[in-house]
Structures are given as C-alpha cells and as structure tokens.
C-alpha cells in the first residue's frame, strides 16, 4: 500500500499552515509558539519522508533523522531560555519582550 506523494504533501502543507497559525496567533505564550514551530518542523520532516518514499532514496529519511536531533537540541535550548525569560519578567507573553525596538 502506498500513499501518493500528493496526499503526503497536502497533509504536510496543512500541518505547516496550522503550525504557522499557531506561532502567529498564540503569541501570548512562548511555549505555545515553540509547539507551533515543532509542528512546522514535523511538516517538513513529513515532506522529506514522503519524498524519500516516492523516489526510493534514503536521503530524505536520513535528513529527517538529523532534523529530529537538531530539533531536540533546539527545544532544550529554547526551554532553558523560556525559563530565563520568565525569571526576568514573570511572564511568557512575547509582546512584553520588545527591547529590540529599533
């Protein structure tokens, strides 16, 4: 049984759109934004895996494995930063952190 590539791509794009929507809309909470980023990354990995299956080449699968390692590292760093930010301002609302205003 094989899933056509187009279906995989449609699911991946929907996931990516939902992840993006989550990041843009849920900015009151950094953690929810991070979850949105994870969803987008998952959509990307799904695309890789789908492509890999479609063409029968292992490269895409390898790349998604690498992405998993990268994501775990990123998440651990990001969560540490969330803890740090929370200590500074007692909030996780990103709109409160606007010291980069130009």
């Amino acid at each position: 049984m094989s899933v056509p590539l187009s279906h995989v791509l449609i699911v991946a794009s929907l996931m990516f759109a939902m992840g993006l929507g989550c990041v843009v809309a849920w900015r009151a909470n950094v953690i929810m934004m991070l979850i949105g980023i994870e969803i987008m990354l998952n959509a990307v990995m799904l695309t890789f895996v789908g492509g890999s299956a479609h063409w029968g080449i292992a490269d895409g699968q390898l790349f998604s494995l690498m992405l998993m390692a990268l994501t775990s590292a990123e998440v651990s760093l990001a969560l540490a930063m969330v803890v740090y930010l929370h200590r500074r301002k007692q909030t996780v609302n990103t709109d409160q952190f606007d010291s980069m205003k130009g």
Binding site: L20, V23, V24, R27, M33, T94, D95, F97, D98, S99, M100, K101, G102
Partner: protein, 625 residues
C-alpha cells in the same frame, strides 16, 4: 671671486631673514637688530666688492636648478651695469633703512617678524635684479610682492591695515598674471627663458608678437610699479610702518617694474607700439600722481603719489629708449625718496604719529637736521637746478624730446607740466610742515640717530647729479658705464639743445617753487582756514585720486560682490547645499519610516516573515503557472 661675492650678497639677507624668522623670538632684541643690519650691510659690502671686481657683463651660473627636455633653468646671475648699479643702490639704501628701523620700531614688540620680513624683502629684490633667467626673476618678483603684503599689513590688528596689504597684493597680482603669460609665451616662442638669450632673439619674431609681449610685460610693470591703471594700491600701502614705505618706494618693489622693462628693452624695444604704450603709460601716470599729490593732506600720501609720479617719469624714460636716463632717475629717486620717507618718519615720530600736514608747522627750528635733509629731498623731487633730481629728470625729458614725433613731444610737454606741478606740491609740503609758527615736538633719543641716517641720503640726493652730468659738462659716469648695454643707439642732441631744455626745466621748477611760496608760504594762514572746510569740486577729485578707487569699486568690486553674493546665496546655499541637505533628509526620512517597522515585538517579525514567505510562494506559483 665674483661668484663668491654674488652668492654672499644673496645669501646673507636670506640667512639673516631666516634666522630672525625661526629663532628671532628666542634671541635678545639687540642681537636680532644687529643681525638684521649686519646682513644687509654685508650684502652691500659684497655688492661693492663685486663692483670693484667687475670687468664686463657676465653670466655667472651658480648651480643647476632643473632641466628636463628642452626646459633648462639654471640658477644663474647676470651682472651688467644695470644690475650692478641697482644692487649697490639697494644694498646701501636698504642698509640705511634697516638702521633707521632699529630706532623707529624701538617700541614695537614684534621686532623679530619685522626684521625677518625686511631682510627677506632685500633678498627677494636682489634675486629679482640679479636673476639671469626669467623664472628666477619671477621668484624675486613674487617674493617682493609677498614681503610687501606682509609688511604693509604689519600692524594687522587694525583691519584697515590688513585690507591695505591685501589690496596691494591683489592689485599687483593682476600684473603678475600678465608676467606669467609672457614667460610661458616667451618660452614657447624662443625655447629659452634666459634673459640674455631672449634679448638677442627679438628679431626672429614678427613685430606684432613683440608688441604683444611688450604689452604683457608692461602690464606686469604696471602692477608692480603702480602705474595707471593699477596704481590704486600704492597710496594705501602707507598703512605699513614708515621705513617699510621708504623701502617699497625707494629701493625695492616699485622700481621692479621699471627694471623689468629696462632689462627686456633689447627684446621689446624693436616694437614702436610697445614703446609708445610704455611712454604713454608713464607720462599719464606721472601727471596723475603729481595732480593727486597736490590735494593730499596726509604727509605720507603726498609722498606716495609723488612716487607714482616719479616712477611714471622712469617709465617714460624707458619708453623713450633711454635706459641710462631711466636708471639714473631710478637711482637718484631711490636716494631722495628714501630720504623724504625717512624724514617723514622723523616728523611723524616727533609729532606723536600725527600725519595731517595742516596740523603741522614750525618744525624748521625744532627739527633742524630733518628740515635741511627734507629740504634737500624736496628740492630733488621738485627738480630745483643743480640737485640730483634736476639732472636725472631732465635727462629723461631730454631723451623724450630728442626721440621726436608728435607723440613724444606731447609727452615732453606733459612731463614739463608735471614737473611744474611737482615743484609746486613739493614746496607746498615744505611750507606746510616746516614753515609757520613754532611747533611742539616730542623728542626721544632714537630721533637723533634717525636724523643722522638722513644725512648720507641727503648728500647723495644733492650730489646725485654727478653720477651722470650732461654732456656739455663733460659727460657722465653712468652714460659711459652703460654704454655697454645693447640699446644705446639714441639720438644725442647738440649741447645748445641740452642747455636750452635744462634752462626751461629749471625755470619751470623755480616757477613751481615761487607759486608754492606765495600760496603756502605767504598765504599760509588763509590756506589753514580753507583746510577747515570740506574739500569740494576739483580739490576733492584730486584728493580722492581722481576717484579711481570709487570707479573700481563701482565697475569691478560691486559687480564682483553681487556675483559672489548670488553664487553664494543662490547657487552654493540654494542649489548645492540644498540638494545635499534634501538628499540626506530624504534618506533619513525613509530610514525612520522603515525603522517604525522594527517594533521589537516578535510577533510582528514573525508575521512579516510569513508574509515574505507567502509573497515568494506566490511569485513561484505565478512563474510555474
């Protein structure tokens, strides 16, 4: 030995000037004064030694300056009767002026600058006179202009003095431009800048080219020698210290133009038009200066206009081809004009720096030495018979008369009229300054020495005629000495002619003296009353120098200022500055506009990022479809 003398003649004032300029402030005052005087007198001694060792015209090359392709300019000096007589005169007169300056500038704090400039002035003038190549002459020419600029504006804290210095510099610069063009053209024509070579090559060129060259050199001389129409700077140059005026008027600076023309006469003398232009310039300027001197109230301004007038005579002489007569007058004039200026310095010092001749009087008894010296100087200036000025001025008039032709005879009559006016204003000055009631003077120990300096000059002025007696009295030393110069093919008159002309000149001078006596000697009280009133009509016209300053102000300076104002307001600030300002304001505005985008809020960046991604996707989609 000659090269050594000449080298030291030039180097001594240069070294003195540089030492004063570099270390003058650190050295004790007495040392600076002694150094400045000693170097000039040393230079004079070298000039005398050179004169003793002189055998004939000689080009002495001291060193190579630069040589590339066909342009070769060595540092070479030319010693001939003309330059030799000039350097001896310059050394002597400048030496006396230096000694005089020591006492005149006794209370001035800035002695180091003063003596440094004075020494450099002498060096520049000697370079000008001795230079065999025109660029060397030009260096001296510019050096003289530069030093005079700094010395005229010596008391620069008064803006009037600084303006006078600038006026002198800018006006003479107009002439310098003509000289520069003439030099470039001369090189293009002859392929050489050596004066002696160029002088011998005049016949190679068509007459019109020579005429144009002559006119260019004449314009150069007009600037430096304060001839019409570039004479406006000289009366204002009185702003400098009095010894500086004496130096500018007598030995250096203003004689440079006459010297240049006399030096190049073999080249430009073949053009009758150029000679006529020189003569007419000289004749008119002589008349102009004399008439203006009639109405001046400032002692030094009278002398300044008299210089313009006398230099006019010299130009007239050069224009008539009489280099000997012109140089003769130049030398004698240097003595008596230095005498008059230094005498005026004594008077001014004794009168608490009062320069209005109507406020003076009675100095005959209180300053006897100055009186007698000044009388000698005035007699020379007026051309009273048997003084040096009489013989020298008369030899010029004689040469002009003998040249013949309507133009030169008219110029002779103009010269004679000028001589009458000259005699009149010289003695007007004498009667006003020294005649009349008793004057109160301020004595100082310096004044005594300053008066002593006048005596040798008075003797030289009085007996200057012996340098070149007319031929019916056995002929002159100078004429014989100058006989080696390339241009001496002048018509010589018979003895009777000479005597008649000299008698006429003598009568004219005595007539002027007589009129001055009746008007300012006997009618002194009346003139004093008149002087209270505001000058009007012809008197004001003359007092203002024929309104030449106003004319130039109207014709040149006002349009120039209007043009500069327009360019500054409208073009520079209105267009150039405004466009640059507008550009920067525009860039800044755009930057501020985009700057508002970076709010620092992560969400805005994210949305922008997403929107950018969406745009790229749309573009790709559009491409694919």
């Amino acid at each position: 030995m000659l090269p050594i003398y000449l080298t030291f003649m030039l180097l001594l004032p240069l070294l003195g000037g540089l030492t004063c300029a570099v270390a003058g402030r650190k050295l004790p005052r007495a040392l600076v004064e002694v150094l400045a005087c000693a170097t000039v007198w040393g230079s004079f001694a070298c000039a005398v030694l050179a004169a003793a060792a002189y055998t004939g015209p000689q080009v002495i090359t001291l060193a190579d300056w630069f040589a590339s392709f066909d342009l070769a300019i060595p540092i070479s000096l030319y010693l001939d009767p003309l330059s030799l007589s000039m350097v001896v005169m310059i050394g002597f007169v400048c030496g006396l002026i230096h000694v005089y300056s020591v006492f005149y500038m006794r209370d001035d704090e800035d002695y180091a600058r003063y003596f440094a400039l004075l020494n450099l002035f002498v060096f520049a003038m000697l370079t000008l006179v001795l230079g065999e190549t025109l660029p060397l002459l030009y260096l001296g020419w510019e050096g003289v202009g530069f030093c005079s600029y700094l010395l005229i504006g010596f008391w620069y804290s008064d803006p009037n003095n600084a303006d006078a210095g600038r006026k002198a510099f800018i006006t003479t610069r107009i002439g310098d431009v003509a000289l520069m063009i003439a030099l470039a053209w001369l090189f293009q024509l002859f392929g050489t800048l050596s004066i002696t070579k160029a002088n011998g090559m005049g016949f190679l060129m068509p007459g019109s080219v020579i005429t144009m060259l002559g006119i260019l050199f004449l314009i150069a001389a007009m600037g430096k020698s304060a001839q019409m129409p570039l004479m406006v700077w000289l009366p204002d140059a009185m702003a400098g210290p009095t010894p500086v005026s004496a130096m500018i008027h007598a030995a250096t600076m203003v004689t440079a133009g006459v010297y240049l023309l006399a030096r190049l006469l073999p080249l430009i003398g073949s053009s009758h038009a150029a000679l006529a232009a020189i003569s007419v310039t000289g004749g008119l300027t002589a008349f102009y200066g004399a008439t203006c001197a009639l109405a001046q109230r400032d002692l030094k301004r009278v002398l300044a206009y008299s210089t313009i007038s006398q230099i006019g005579y010299m130009m007239l002489g050069v224009g008539a081809g009489a280099v000997t007569a012109a140089t003769f007058h130049l030398l004698v004039h240097a003595f008596f004009k230095a005498l008059l200026f230094l005498g005026a310095g004594c008077v001014i010092a004794a009168m608490h720096h009062e320069q209005d001749i109507y406020k003076m009087g009675g100095l005959r008894r209180s300053l006897p030495v100055t009186f007698w010296s000044f009388l000698t100087g005035a007699a020379c200036l007026a051309g009273i018979p048997l003084t040096g000025g009489f013989f020298s001025k008369d030899s010029i008039l004689l040469a002009v008369w003998l040249k013949g032709g309507v133009l030169y005879q008219a110029l002779y009559l103009l010269g004679l009229l000028t001589a009458l006016i000259t005699a009149f204003y010289s003695f007007r000055l004498m009667f006003l300054v020294f005649g009349g009631g008793n004057g109160h003077v301020h004595r100082s120990s310096g004044l005594t020495v300053m008066q002593v300096v006048l005596i040798p000059l008075a003797i030289l002025g009085l007996f200057g005629g012996l340098l070149d007696l007319p031929s019916y009295l056995g002929g002159g030393y100078l004429s014989g000495f100058f006989a080696t110069l390339p241009v001496t093919d002048l018509p010589t008159g018979s003895h009777e002619q000479e005597i008649v002309l000299q008698v006429v000149a003598g009568i004219v001078a005595l007539l002027g003296l007589l009129v001055a006596y009746f008007r300012y000697g006997k009618g002194r009280a009346e003139r004093m009353r008149e002087a209270q009133a505001q000058p009007s009509g012809l008197f004001a016209f003359l007092a203002q120098g024929w309104y030449f300053d106003k004319l130039y102000h109207l014709v040149l300076i006002r349009p120039y200022q209007a043009c500069a104002g327009f360019l500054s307001e409208r073009v520079d600030r209105g267009v150039i500055d405004a466009s640059v300002d507008g550009l920067s304001a525009g860039v800044g505005g755009v930057g501020r506009l985009f700057g508002r985008w970076s709010t620092g809020k992560v969400a805005v960046y994210l949305i922008s990022f997403a929107a950018g991604g969406a745009l790229i996707l749309c573009y790709l989609a559009w491409l694919a479809l």
